[in-house]
Symmetry: D2
Subunit: 159 residues, 4 copies
């Protein structure tokens, strides 16, 4: 899986003086199982790709999401939204670009674009909101180290 930090946006962004870049991309081929009988990718597959985008972003920040769960906490999805512009097809190379939208004390928002890796055509956009849960399933504060990590690459300031 090739993936790279998109350098493009970091240049003019004074909040990344040390080089922490605001978004990550991950590229893969559409799987046959992800198609449906319309001959295009089923709309639920993009929701799974968004999640893989989050994983890729965490890896690029040097702190895989698996580490977050090792603290006993989890980021449960509280909201999903997606707009489908152009259908993806079997074996197409697609790229998911993921960025942190906003980090708050107990919540975090991620934003996504899925596009054709060759032409750059945008296929789907979306976002997810998450709430931090403790092992008992109660809302919990995101630990400071993680808030700083994600807040440092967020496109909007947190509170």
């Amino acid at each position: 899986m090739t993936s790279r930090i998109a350098a493009r946006e970091s240049l003019g962004n004074p909040s990344f003086p040390g080089g922490r870049l605001p978004e990550a991309e991950t590229t893969f081929h559409v799987r046959y199982a992800e198609t449906d009988q319309m001959g295009i990718v089923h709309h639920s597959a993009y929701i799974v790709w968004f999640e893989e985008g989050r994983s890729a972003l965490s890896r690029h920040l040097g702190r895989p999401y698996a580490e977050f769960e090792q603290t006993g906490l989890a980021l449960a999805v509280s909201e999903v939204s997606a707009r489908y512009l152009v259908p993806a097809r079997y074996d197409q190379r697609v790229t998911v670009r993921t960025r942190v939208g906003q980090v708050r004390s107990r919540q975090i928002r991620f934003e996504y674009e899925v596009y054709d890796s060759e032409t750059g055509q945008c296929l789907v956009i979306g976002h997810t909101s998450h709430i931090c849960l403790d092992p008992e399933g109660r809302a919990a504060r995101i630990p400071d180290a993680w808030r700083e990590l994600w807040g440092g690459v967020a496109t909007k300031g947190g509170t």
Copy 2:
């Protein structure tokens, strides 16, 4: 799969004088494969359940969605949105209640509630928007017979 037309809402609703009821319910057990390592149902599973809710609604209206596709048309998903309130768990009996939100000449909106079949507790709410596509993938008018069918049970008037 037990499913029934919810009679509750039809009583006071003058737009269903002939008995066409505005929503359908379908009930099933959560599958093990639908869980993830958080121990709860993965958020993408509800998107698939919404779709099964649409299928159930079409069956209850006496016109399965498969018949719609036999016309050569399809209702491609253009938007999905879901809010997750309470997680569902393996083997839980859940019910998806589906209604038509609005029908327009080329578009249709469906609305969903997923709730616990025993307690009635609401777990997830959401909606999807669809655009009617012809076999070449171009936006097309929804045939009159289908617009009337779905429009007749829509919660909002079309245009």
Copy 3:
């Protein structure tokens, strides 16, 4: 989800004198998301249906599989095999018939038939083998109560 214990086989089977029946059936509609661009159900969907068949069998025996996991043990899949005879299609009503093949001290085998609920035509047959794992992931003995439960409906004697 309608499901019933298949009475057919129990009549002449002296190993079920008390009425414990050897197999369970569960019936549901094929979901749209389960199709692929060939226009038929994707072969991986049946593997998920097999699992739902196991869940249905456990429910019918009065001991849902969730209870087994509450002991801290799990039945990890060690082998899957399926033969695809006739493709299932969207919205078709299909039935999964599940039986216990054999129970051994640390292993259990289940067998499946998926067939068209209306015509009875057999679509897919398969089996899965499972190994009992303790919370540390080591092979463990299946507790006696569960061995007796499953062994009591097994088509082959255990050891």
Copy 4:
């Protein structure tokens, strides 16, 4: 998605004098959605990975499977078998190694190994058999060009 033809095996294999190599590998991270509440990858996910292995092999041979379907034919899965040795986990890098087992006039068999990309530990092995179907769903001969392509890298001679 990094993927490469495994050169290792081709050296001592006189049946690939012209350099057509007998197997392909594709590597990716395990997706969160592929886990279940046991905390490991759900067994049905590997079946999807096998399929992605087939796609990767076809791409490496320079003839993507999408081209095969453009002839109007399809390779329907007639049999799947998998043995699960060690569970994969979220975010783990895994590699699927795929080879053609045997090509016959209307059938083809593929073989798979899924292993940990870092340690090389084998996680799952399996195979699938496929039957060539024409647009009406009848068994059909695999076109000569494709039989030669796949037969040229098969580990067993065809008939």
